[in-house]
């Protein structure tokens, strides 16, 4: 059984402080849900645990089974057993889903030993069927041209194949229709075991209808402000977050205002340059 320990975690991006003292402990077999309105730092927490290079940790600790996670590179964290189902997974043209996941699985096996192709295909096909995805998935390029829902299912498929100790699912429910939500929810529930600690990040309770949770946390202003059990979800579902804000005297729950990503154009038009336009 694994334990992920987050102690007094502070993180910033571009000089803006987003996490302001997060404390959380996730044990194998437990399912935690972090809820909260947009812009309160939920996804940042997920990215920071995985090690996205954009974020800088200014204070605090993340410890997995006694090992300092903050000392590990992104790939080492993955091999140590941390998995992040991303909100916006990247598209990688030219790399097929099966090549990618096969390579990822081989990084986990002992030196020189790679997973048998036969075993891999059987396991992959099974996962594809369970998630009701198209059979051509292994030959398609990684997330390229995938709908929002397909991308999310592909994240769950990778989780199935990699068998993590701690899985964080960042808004895995967004972009999913009711049927897909049910499939994803049931698949996650099926993966539950004493060896898996789950952290679900969401701002709707919809997903939590399919996955039972042991602990529910509400995040505001970059930290966990309230924790409880299933009953907390029900109350949030009925009354929203205002009562929590009132109770805690919080005026604005956000830590940052989401900005549109700036697009960068690389390279210039030679003709324009030649003609000095």
């Amino acid at each position: 059984m694994s334990i992920l320990l987050i102690k007094n975690l502070y993180a910033e991006v571009d000089g803006k402080e987003i996490l302001k003292g997060v404390n959380l402990e996730i044990k194998g077999g437990e399912t935690h849900a972090i809820m909260g309105p947009n812009g309160t730092g939920k996804s940042t927490l997920a990215s920071v645990i995985m090690g996205h290079p954009k974020f800088i940790i200014t204070k605090g600790e993340i410890i997995l089974d006694g090992k300092n996670v903050l000392d590990m590179a992104v790939d080492e964290r993955s091999r140590a057993g941390i998995f992040l189902g991303m909100q916006n997974p990247a598209e990688v043209p030219g790399v097929t889903n099966s090549d990618f996941i096969k390579t990822a699985m081989n990084t986990r096996s002992e030196e020189g030993k790679s997973i048998s192709l036969f075993k891999f295909i059987i396991q992959y096909d099974k996962a594809v069927k369970e998630l009701k995805m198209n059979e051509d998935l292994p030959h398609r390029y990684l997330n390229e041209g995938f709908s929002g829902g397909e991308k999310k299912r592909n994240e769950i498929l990778q989780m199935k194949m990699l068998n993590p100790k701690i899985a964080i699912l960042d808004e895995i429910d967004s972009g999913l229709d009711v049927d897909a939500l049910k499939i994803v929810g049931e698949n996650i529930t099926k993966m539950k075991s004493p060896d898996l600690g789950l952290l679900l990040i969401t701002h709707y309770q919809r997903l939590l209808e399919y996955i039972s949770t042991d602990y529910v946390h509400v995040m505001m202003q970059g930290r966990i402000v309230k924790s409880g059990d299933q009953k907390l979800i029900e109350r949030i579902d009925q009354e929203g977050y205002d009562w929590i804000k009132e109770e805690l005297g919080i005026d604005d729950e956000r830590v940052f205002i989401e900005e549109e990503e700036e697009r960068i154009i690389l390279g210039t038009c030679a003709t324009k340059e030649a003609l000095d336009l």
Binding site: D75, G94, V95, D99, A104, R108, Y141, G267, T268
Partner: protein, 330 residues
């Protein structure tokens, strides 16, 4: 399957880098070392084609004949400086898949010229890999002349260690003809490679597409110059161009200079260039599944270069290509 091999005088040793390709899975190939045909291994259906070699490789595909199998030609340069000439003629409604592998393992000067003549409604798929020794001086010129309704698709991989000057000149001479010039190139060390493609529209309703994928590493420099030229009165023609590049090294250079020279109003034309470092989000994503930085980079680059992998017919050829990608991008 009957095979005919009229020339099998193996008085020359085939370099091991090339010999590994000749497995049972590879069909229909010729091996030419320093201007001499060493192996000719062709399926019976190729008897319908005229393939003659006499200083010039002359291939003629007769009218209405469509050859589905790929013809592979390995040109190996060992000792002499030489000029290699290839001429491919497709008669009306003919079809051919052609693949060439250009190789040198010694210091030599290579001049390679190939010409293709695509008659009405004929279709040529031409692919090639060049892998020249670092001390070679290389000039490769490929010309294609395309008649009415003809189609000519060139997919070239330039993975030499040599300084090289590559040109593709395609002439759309009949209406509704189309041409594709696709190039994948990787440069490393102190290499300088310049690739220039021209597609000239000499008839109305013609289509020309230029696609380039480049990776430059170490202190190398790679330049793509694509030109789409639509002449006056060649109405309703389409000229498009796309350049994509990854700059790996601190001191590497990668330039794409797309040009559109258009002398007619009623046309469609576009060009684009996207050149930069490896996408950080892609790297992060792959690494978040446990791939090391090197592994993730390699996977992204081979994916980026996949347009050429699709043209390769056997696992050995694919492996050879991936190996050179790996070596040149380290």
């Amino acid at each position: 399957m009957m095979k005919y091999n009229d020339i099998t005088k193996l008085k020359k040793n085939i370099p091991s880098e090339i010999r590994k390709f000749f497995t049972e899975k590879l069909n229909n190939y010729l091996v030419i070392i320093d201007g001499e045909v060493i192996i000719k291994n062709l399926q019976s259906s190729f008897e319908k084609l005229s393939i003659n070699y006499n200083n010039v490789m002359d291939i003629v595909v007769p009218r209405n004949f469509s050859e589905k199998e790929t013809l592979h030609i390995f040109y190996i340069q060992e000792n002499t400086d030489s000029v290699i000439n290839t001429k491919i003629t497709l008669k009306e409604n003919a079809e051919l898949n052609y693949f060439e592998y250009l190789f040198s393992n010694t210091e030599s000067k290579v001049d390679f010229v190939s010409d293709s003549y695509i008659s009405e409604n004929a279709k040529l798929r031409y692919s090639g890999i060049s892998k020249f020794n670092k001390n070679s001086k290389v000039s490769v010129i490929r010309n294609s002349n395309i008649s009415r309704y003809g189609s000519s698709i060139y997919s070239i991989a330039e993975v030499s260690d040599a300084d090289a000057d590559l040109r593709i000149n395609m002439f759309l001479d009949g209406d509704y003809a189309n041409a594709v010039a696709k190039t994948v190139a990787i440069t490393s060390k102190k290499q300088k490679v310049r690739i220039k493609q021209i597609i000239e529209h000499n008839a109305p309703d013609t289509e020309g597409y230029i696609e380039n994928y480049g990776v430059s590493n170490n202190d190398s420099s790679l330049i793509f110059e694509g030109v789409g030229k639509i002449n006056k009165n060649m109405k309703r023609s389409i000229a498009r161009q796309q350049n994509k590049g990854i700059v790996l090294g601190e001191n590497s250079r990668l330039d794409a200079n797309p040009l559109l020279l258009i002398d007619e109003y009623d046309v469609e034309a576009s060009h684009g260039a996207a050149i930069g470092k490896i996408d950080e989000e892609q790297l992060y994503y792959l690494m978040s599944r446990g791939l090391t930085l090197k592994n993730a980079e390699r996977l992204i680059i081979s994916g980026f270069l996949s347009p050429i992998i699709k043209q390769l017919t056997t696992d050995e050829l694919i492996e050879d290509f991936l190996e050179v990608v790996k070596r040149k991008t380290l």
